[in-house]
């Protein structure tokens, strides 16, 4: 067991956790932030992507015990004061989601892309999102949504 103090979506959290607890496990099972999803066991699907200290990571591959002192943002923390983030707005406008299961990871990953590159090309968007699997949309409208968000940010 280890005690960690982290900040999740702007709130300070202090928890005693098991050594093998993953960040996704901490978020979902201990903090009840179930917007972060688990879609595979092999770090392939990307449904669990969150931001740690501003960078997107797959939260199923991070041990919570290693993250003492970090700042974590999940899909629940992306909108501010009830106003959707431009990426969330764009996914809605362009119908970039269907069943919604991959969406939290997809959105968090796309937000990080635009931090790194303001106006990515279609190919750059597709390459960046290669680690996020979506079974519903065929990615067409996801790419359109990221471009739409880029034009608004």
């Amino acid at each position: 067991m280890k005690k960690i103090a982290i900040e999740v979506n702007g709130k300070k959290v202090s928890k005693e956790i098991q050594d093998h607890t993953t960040l996704s496990g901490l978020l979902r099972d201990i903090l009840n932030l179930t917007g972060t999803h688990i879609g595979c066991d092999t770090s392939q699907c990307g449904a669990c992507v969150v931001h740690v200290d501003g960078k997107s990571i797959k939260s199923c591959t991070a041990l919570a015990a290693d993250l003492d002192g970090s700042k974590v943002t999940t899909i629940e923390g992306l909108a501010s004061n009830g106003k959707l983030h431009p990426m969330q707005e764009a996914f809605k406008k362009m119908h970039g989601l269907q069943c919604g299961f991959c969406t939290p990871g997809m959105v968090m990953s796309a937000v990080d892309l635009l931090k790194n590159k303001k106006n990515p090309s279609d190919q750059e968007i597709r390459d960046w999102l290669e680690g996020n699997i979506c079974r519903c949309t065929g990615y067409h409208n996801i790419v359109a949504a990221v471009k739409e968000a880029a034009s608004k940010m």
Binding site: I38, G39, H95, L97, Q98, F101, T103, V107, Q123, G138
Partner: protein, 792 residues
């Protein structure tokens, strides 16, 4: 008020999904819940000699361990096939028992034999490792082609044959073939796929010891049907003591139609241990135990004249059912497949013969398109082969055999009410710049690349389905759909539907329909589904049926509301109901300015009396309230159709197939929400393209699934796919008041042959099997080079 049908309305469901507030089954936790881990067979075929749980039972945190013995003691029933298919000789199909926990024998890797319930997931896992199962391993039947000549897997099922089914007329086909100038022959394998909804299956069960009611939250496409099967066949509880809730469900694609072992076992066990239970599949469990799709071996023959007219078609198929026959397992390779085998063409004679066999692999059932992709793949591949052998253009040969008059009586079963196949193919040809292909091919060749173009024209029979027809064909239930529309006294509307959205956007599409019918702002309409305690019975969502069946039930319920509203408004306005018109949410007395809004009428309907200002007498014979329901049973299937064209560029040095351009032109009749329909087409295309280029479920000789993770099973990713170029034509369905046809499966049905035709075109007609992976294409390119060198 402008009509919402036809508008690109943004989705009502999006906000919760985009803010992490979706509520999927695995997000649900119930106080005092236990965690379930299933112990599954590591062998494809074995006898269970002994299960020793003694050590595991003493493990920390274990609440209970149950096996097939307990299931048998409690007389809990198993999983069923929903359709009874007869063989050509009239005999009934043969189905083995499929108990929720195997007691005597296991028949595929992943077949569950026992279950552990513990206080924590870690404890359940640790205890599961201590359960000792002693197996006598038998030789697995894992190869479809050899299954009929292998040892029988199930007692009493000779040759592993479930049925040997025929649709069509062998004699007529024989005569047609005798008249042919040429017989085109094709042998193909339609490879096995794994649906892979991104949300793994899960269930959370809550047993209420006071009311003795079991609530089963589950990842289902049809909660009402799951409840029915769990009650009537599983014997878990009477239907009135069983509530099945499918909350937000993360994709289904057919794999969540079935009721599964885990739902039955956990529901039964929750009552037994008097504790809530949570089970969530790991991804590998999903790979192993979700129903799979496709998996056919087909020999097809097409009889043609030298000028490219089709005379007859034969389709001889062996279909893999996997280890057990499940809900749509037996109908997918028969009535969902056979009738569509002749494609969009006038085909004077045809038959489809299907032998469905058992193997020691995961059960095969409906996967997006279900039977129709397999049929379309066969006919569209053989039509291309015919064009090549006859030296005709692939578009020309298709045009030559299209029907031009509708209704069109298709060869094997269907009476197609509407369509315009010529217009669809012409539009696709123009949008794809078909005529510019030769120049682009030259350009590719100048860079050392191969370029190919592929065409597919398809129709499908969906919107399943007319109950009298499906029941005559062997279905155990009728496939109508129900709806209930409720006005609150204060004017908001709740629409209950028996269909279920797991990505299809019912909350938006159905609200658009109701808004138009009732003249109520869409913001004031909520669509509710997925809870057997909230709505009336429903048949769920599959076979592109939600809008064409469920949507029409909503239309009909709304019409009943308006009719009752007219009677109430007439009384309120002192007119006769015949004089009252309803438009834009208002009841207006003809040739007057007397009117009442539907909100006022709803309010009045709940206050049938007179007090001060409130004067709202109900017409005689009418009961208070404004609630109506409807069960809609369609008169026919719906028949979407279209033509798709794609271009691929192949690098012969690596075998990499680049999907360069993809054009899809579809006819879905009236489109309620273009934004959503386009999304359905995009997603469908991705799955069809996945089969053509990437996806393949593979078992080894011992029956081990060697593609049981995302490291081994290739899912199409963002960088594998292009932007899609979509177009639409419209001939309205004549069999429903909205003129709508199903759109959910079309992309998947058309994309696989379109891409493969393009790949084979690029390879100069060289046959290649699904999927056209870089390795296979590279080998084909090498052989081409060799034979070209020889020829030179």
């Amino acid at each position: 008020m402008a009509s919402l049908v036809g508008s690109r309305v943004e989705r009502k469901e999006d906000k919760r999904f985009l803010t992490g507030k979706g509520r999927y089954t695995s997000d649900i936790n119930i106080a005092n819940q236990t965690y379930a881990i299933f112990i599954r067979s590591p062998h494809a075929r074995a006898k269970i000699k002994k299960i020793d749980t003694s050590k595991a039972l003493k493990s920390s945190g274990v609440v209970e361990i149950l096996t097939g013995e307990h299931i048998a003691q409690d007389k809990i029933g198993g999983l069923i096939a929903g359709w009874a298919i007869r063989s050509e000789d009239g005999s009934e199909m043969k189905c083995p028992a499929n108990p929720p926990l195997a007691k005597d024998s296991v028949n595929f890797v992943g077949d569950p034999v026992a279950v552990v319930f513990a206080e924590t997931l870690d404890e359940a896992r640790a205890a599961a490792d201590l359960v000792k199962v002693d197996y006598k391993v038998l030789k697995a039947v894992s190869n479809l082609g050899e299954a009929m000549n292998s040892e029988a897997i199930h007692d009493g099922i000779d040759k592993n044959l479930c049925y040997d089914w025929l649709l069509g007329d062998r004699q007529k086909v024989k005569e047609a073939f005798e008249k042919a100038d040429r017989i085109i022959k094709l042998d193909i394998t339609n490879n096995r796929l794994i649906p892979n909804a991104m949300e793994p299956r899960a269930c959370v069960i809550d047993y209420n010891t006071a009311s003795e009611e079991i609530t089963c939250y589950t990842t289902s496409q049809n909660p009402h049907l799951s409840r029915l099967i769990m009650s009537a066949f599983g014997g878990v509880a009477p239907e009135n003591k069983l509530r099945v809730v499918a909350p937000d469900v993360g994709g289904g694609f057919g794999s969540k139609i079935n009721l599964y072992n885990e739902e039955i076992v956990c529901s039964w066990a929750s009552k037994k241990i008097e504790r809530p239970i949570k089970w969530v599949a790991e991804r590998t469990e999903s790979f192993l135990t979700d129903t799979h799709g496709r998996d056919h071996i087909t020999h097809a023959e097409l009889a043609v004249t030298n000028d490219g007219k089709f005379l007859g078609f034969k389709n001889e198929t062996i279909a893999n059912l996997g280890a057990y026959a499940r809900v749509f397992g037996t109908v997918t390779p028969t009535y969902l497949f056979g009738p569509c085998a002749t494609g969009v063409y006038i085909m004077p004679a045809a038959y489809s013969n299907v032998k469905a066999v058992y193997t020691n692999t995961a059960p095969v059932d409906a996967y997006r398109g279900a039977g129709r992709p397999e049929a379309t793949y066969t006919i569209e591949r053989i039509v291309d082969k015919a064009a090549m052998e006859l030296g005709m253009d692939p578009i020309e040969i298709r045009m030559k055999n299209f029907p031009t008059e509708f209704p069109f009586k298709q060869t094997l079963v269907h009476q197609i009410d509407s369509g315009d196949y010529v217009a669809g193919l012409n539009k696709a040809k123009e949008m794809a710049d078909y005529d510019g292909f030769a120049a682009r091919k030259k350009e590719s060749e100048s860079k050392g690349k191969l370029r190919g173009i592929g065409v597919t024209s398809y129709f499908e029979a969906c919107g399943i389905a007319p109950s009298p027809v499906v029941m005559m064909l062997g279905c155990g239930v009728g496939l109508w759909e129900s709806a209930e529309v409720r006005f609150n006294p204060t004017g908001q509307v709740t629409v209950y539907t028996g269909s279920h959205s797991h990505g299809q956007s019912h909350q938006t599409t159905f609200a658009q329909i109701a808004a138009d019918e009732l003249g109520v702002p869409i913001e004031n309409i909520d669509v509710v589904h997925g809870d057997t305690d909230k709505g009336t019975f429903g048949m769920g969502t599959y076979g592109s049926r939600s809008l064409t069946v469920g949507g029409i039930a909503i239309v009909n319920a709304c019409k009943k509301i308006v009719n009752k509203g007219k009677r109430i408004a007439a009384k309120m306005l002192e007119a006769s109901p015949d004089e009252v018109d309803f438009k834009n949410g208002e009841f207006v007395v003809a040739k007057s300015n007397k009117k009442k809004t539907i909100g006022e009428v709803a309010f009045a309907s709940y206050l049938p009396g007179v007090r001060d200002e409130v004067k709202s007498p109900l017409p005689e014979g009418d009961e208070p309230g404004l609630i109506e329901s409807s069960f809609f049973d369609p008169a026919n299937f719906s028949f979407p159709a279209g033509s798709h064209i794609c271009e691929v560029e192949i690098d012969p040095e690596t075998g990499h197939v680049k999907l360069d351009k993809y054009t899809a032109v579809d006819d879905f009749g009236t489109i309620v929400n273009p934004l959503i329909v386009e999304g359905q087409v995009h997603g469908g295309l991705a799955q069809g393209i996945g089969q053509a280029l990437y996806e393949n479920a593979q078992y080894d000789d011992s029956g081990q699934l060697i593609t049981a993770s995302y490291m081994d099973y290739t899912m199409p990713r963002a960088d594998d796919l292009p932007d899609f170029n979509l177009g639409f034509t419209c001939t309205k369905a004549t069999t429903n008041p909205l003129g709508v046809k199903g759109c959910g499966e079309a992309g998947t049905i058309a994309a696989t042959p379109t891409v493969m035709n393009a790949v084979i075109n690029a390879l100069g007609g060289k046959e290649i099997s699904l999927p056209a992976t870089a390795e296979k294409v590279w080998k084909a390119c090498k052989e081409m080079k060799k034979s070209n060198a020889k020829a030179a």
